[in-house]
């Protein structure tokens, strides 16, 4: 714990040459070459399953390449484990955070490092150093806090500090923005800029093209495990990138205004406790009409998650009511809500939405397996289920070898499609969609958006919770902004600018902003 980051030798240049990596049945990387230099940001683009994470995991020593070479400042390297990569000056912020929730920030940072008072831990010293780094790079964290208490953005800052603390000079960020709010993305970018100024080289993976264009110096695109090409970021347009990634054009959607129907989902005075023992919802009032998409925006941790869970029936509310088409469902169980015509796309698809080891078919019937048309008494009617599964796979173009494939072999985007298919094929009256395109590539995102709009046209009332403000602004008829467990304001499509929404997310009501502007 004694070597400060800036004392370590700086890496000038990392090259990966002709990298080949195989998994059973998959050639994940096929002779891929990239290079990263000190002081620059290399963006890595590609659809889900293109091989981006795999490539980077090899650079971080998590996988051994089946072929090819890794060179650091021209010297060939063999990484047997992350320990080797860390020692060589590589750091990685993983797609799924690598933190121990039951430990404090300082403990997470100190993990695996020699202590100055070996064998005893010296957490005071670690905390001090964390604070120094935080200062230097603009990363606000409390070293004494437990990780489980932190918001996603804070957790990410801890991840970055972990890498910096270990003196990483080349840092890989695998989809760092997928879980961040726009404000947090801005903060992150400030930090990243500062890091490049300090001489760090960064690899940045994202599915959000405007971010890529905003932060990177060079852009490399992977498709099906192969390098399609790499070019300077200057002058590249979104369409160029999309074409390289997907091989066809993907145009942003422009939903047509629709005549909305009567109120479908009515929420009034809703209060609920959060996991950390504080009140997460403090009186939410919201009405969603048939054929309407209401987007919920907000900095994560302001009650969006709890709102979705309350509506779905997974969290008990302490006060208030929820009505579905005039029927009070406040006390209804999950199954009763489902029967009343409500569907739910959960935020954490692999944890709550699907069972990895179950097949496509089993996951498709996770909620409806007991429906009368698919059962004879207590027995499952496999013939009917299989037929329906084939239909759905086709209809939703889910890329899977067959209905009996375990979904752990599907890509994230396809799993998301599967969950969509399950929830939409019920023809719901109301749909709660939480982060439906998080971490999903452009093609699949477009597809999911189309489906949501189709559903809206069919008369469904949709509550869309997302941290992607573009998504919210594109799809929503109205946008509700949440702040500290309450809805601070609702604006119709086009009624407010991004900046105004951003201010609302920070707790400043629209009227105040407008008053200030007119003053």
């Amino acid at each position: 714990m004694t070597t400060p980051a800036n004392l370590q030798k700086r890496i000038q240049r990392v090259e990966m040459c002709d990298i080949v990596k195989r998994f059973p049945g998959v050639l994940a990387n096929n002779k891929v070459c990239i290079e990263v230099n000190a002081g620059e940001v290399l963006a890595l683009l590609g659809e889900n399953g293109a091989g981006k994470s795999t490539l980077m995991r090899q650079l971080y020593g998590l996988y051994r390449p089946d072929g090819g070479q890794i060179l650091i400042d021209g010297q060939p390297q063999v990484f047997h484990s992350p320990a080797d990569a860390i020692a060589a000056g590589i750091g990685m912020i993983h797609q799924h955070f690598m933190l121990v929730p039951t430990l404090t920030v300082a403990q997470n940072v100190a993990l695996g490092l020699k202590s100055s008072r070996e064998p005893q831990l010296d957490l005071e010293r670690v905390s001090k150093r964390i604070q120094e780094l935080a200062q230097a790079y603009g990363l606000k964290v409390d070293p004494e806090a437990y990780v489980w208490q932190l918001s996603v953005g804070e957790q990410q800052r801890v991840e970055i500090i972990k890498a910096l603390y270990r003196g990483a000079s080349i840092i890989i960020l695998d989809e760092p923005t997928a879980v961040l709010t726009p404000q947090e993305v801005n903060d992150l970018f400030v930090t990243l800029k500062r890091m490049t100024q300090e001489g760090h080289g960064l690899v940045f993976i994202s599915h959000k093209l405007h971010e890529v264009m905003a932060i990177s110096d060079r852009i490399a695109v992977l498709r099906d495990g192969q390098m399609i090409g790499s070019r300077p970021a200057k002058g590249v347009t979104r369409d160029d990138l999309v074409k390289m990634m997907v091989g066809r054009e993907v145009k942003p959607l422009a939903p047509q205004p629709l005549q909305t129907g009567p109120v479908c989902l009515g929420i009034s005075g809703l209060r609920a406790m959060g996991d950390r023992g504080t009140e997460a919802l403090r009186g939410v009032d919201l009405e969603i009409h048939a054929s309407e998409i209401v987007g919920v925006a907000g900095v994560s941790g302001n009650g969006q998650r709890e709102l979705a869970q309350c509506l779905a029936g997974l969290r008990k509310n302490t006060a208030g009511t929820i009505q579905l088409n005039g029927q009070d469902i406040t006390q209804a169980s999950l199954l009763e809500r489902m029967a009343a015509g409500q569907s739910y796309i959960p935020e954490e698809r692999m944890r709550d939405g699907a069972i990895r080891e179950f097949s496509v078919q089993e996951n498709l019937f996770l909620r409806d397996h007991a429906a009368p048309q698919y059962t004879n008494g207590i027995f499952l009617n496999f013939a009917r289920m299989a037929a329906r599964t084939r239909e759905v796979i086709q209809q939703y173009s889910i890329k899977a070898p067959g209905g009996d494939t375990p979904i752990k072999n599907l890509s994230g985007g396809n799993i998301q499609k599967l969950i969509m298919a399950r929830e939409l094929s019920r023809q719901p009256k109301a749909l709660i969609a939480a982060q439906p395109t998080r971490g999903v590539d452009i093609g699949a995102t477009e597809y999911i958006h189309q489906r949501l709009l189709e559903q809206r046209a069919n008369g469904t009332a949709i509550l869309l919770i997302s941290e992607d403000l573009d998504e919210i602004r594109t799809l929503s008829d109205r946008i509700a902004v949440m702040y500290e467990g309450q809805i601070i304001g609702i604006v119709a499509r086009g009624e407010a600018t991004v900046e105004q929404i951003g201010l609302m997310m920070a707790g400043i009501p629209l009227q105040e902003t407008r008053a200030k502007a007119s003053a």
Binding site: A83, I86, M98, Q107, L111, G112, P119, Q120
Partner: protein
């Protein structure tokens, strides 16, 4: 019945309880190490048996108790290595490999006893050491300060284990590996190495638990000497919420009730001996039901780790 609450009897009960808790403490604290790193070792009882035999045999042959303890620790280590090989390197279902290890230990200890010793014999084990001054305090002295060395060692183990788990870099690694092995791995901590270490440390303590039985508590060896004690020790780890202090409470509760029921029988309290023997088990379950804060188990408990999974 009134007799049961006389000072002498209470002293007796507590003295017994301290003694009885000894092997549970060694074994359960050891198991807590293994489990904190994510490995359930159900083979504790088997390791204890081999440890107990080896300590007994070495004492019988050499009369050197220290050599005996060392030997017990060593065979504990060997069996820990076997367990680690199967459940860490070969990633076997831990519950089953533990039961395999138990059967192996049960068989091996009996076999060796048959071949090398033959009939039951007693040995001169650790003598009671009365701690000067403290040992003379009425009641307290008798309860706490007139025991043999392994008994003291078992109780000393509790704060040491706490210190190790909470205050050292190794303890941090163990807990991290048990909670989120992928995270530890990504920081260059070798998950396998930490698990080998924890399982082996636990097994060494299990070996010592066995030695404490055969060289301090009963001073002899007999086939299946532990009579399933190791399984109770595993249960106590859950009871204690993976914390040495919690285990201490559990072990003392269990052994106090056990001592209590023995005294009830001796004093002729009118209760069926079968019901009396049931008491410690019933109470342990009841205590858990009424314990208010239930600790979550290590998130990766019983889950073999392989890089690249999830």
């Amino acid at each position: 019945m009134n007799e049961l609450f006389s000072l002498a009897v209470i002293t007796g009960i507590l003295t017994s309880a301290i003694r009885l808790a000894t092997p549970y403490l060694f074994a359960a604290v050891g198991e807590a190490f293994a489990q904190s790193s994510g490995v359930v070792n159900l083979g504790v009882d088997g390791i204890m048996l081999v440890g107990a035999f080896v300590a007994f045999y070495v004492t019988l042959q050499t009369g050197n108790l220290w050599l005996a303890v060392l030997a017990a620790a060593l065979v504990g280590l060997l069996m820990g290595l076997l367990m680690s090989l199967i459940s860490v390197t070969l990633k076997a279902e831990q519950g089953i490999s533990g039961i395999g290890l138990y059967m192996f230990g049960l068989g091996l200890s009996s076999l060796l006893f048959k071949l090398l010793v033959g009939t039951v014999q007693t040995i001169d084990g650790f003598k009671v050491i009365k701690i000067p001054l403290l040992g003379d305090i009425p009641m307290i002295g008798e309860i706490f300060f007139q025991h043999s060395l392994p008994v003291y060692a078992a109780f000393l183990l509790v704060p040491v284990a706490w210190w190790f788990l909470e205050k050292t870099t190794w303890g941090l690694k163990i807990k991290a590996v048990g909670q989120n092995p992928a995270a530890a791995d990504s920081l260059g901590v070798s998950v396998d190495k930490v698990r080998y270490f924890s399982v082996c440390l636990g097994s060494v303590l299990a070996g010592l638990a066995g030695a404490s039985l055969s060289t301090a508590l009963v001073n002899l060896f007999q086939e299946n000497l532990t009579a399933g004690l190791g399984f109770i020790a595993v249960a106590l780890v859950y009871f204690g919420g993976w914390k040495p202090a919690g285990i201490l409470v559990g072990a003392l509760l269990f052994s106090t009730v056990n001592a209590f029921q023995l005294w009830m029988q001796v004093l002729g309290v009118n209760i069926s001996s079968d019901v009396a023997v049931m008491l410690p088990y019933l109470l342990t379950i009841a205590a858990l039901v009424f314990a208010t804060n239930r600790v979550r188990q290590p998130a990766a408990l019983n889950k073999p780790f392989e890089r690249g999974e999830n």
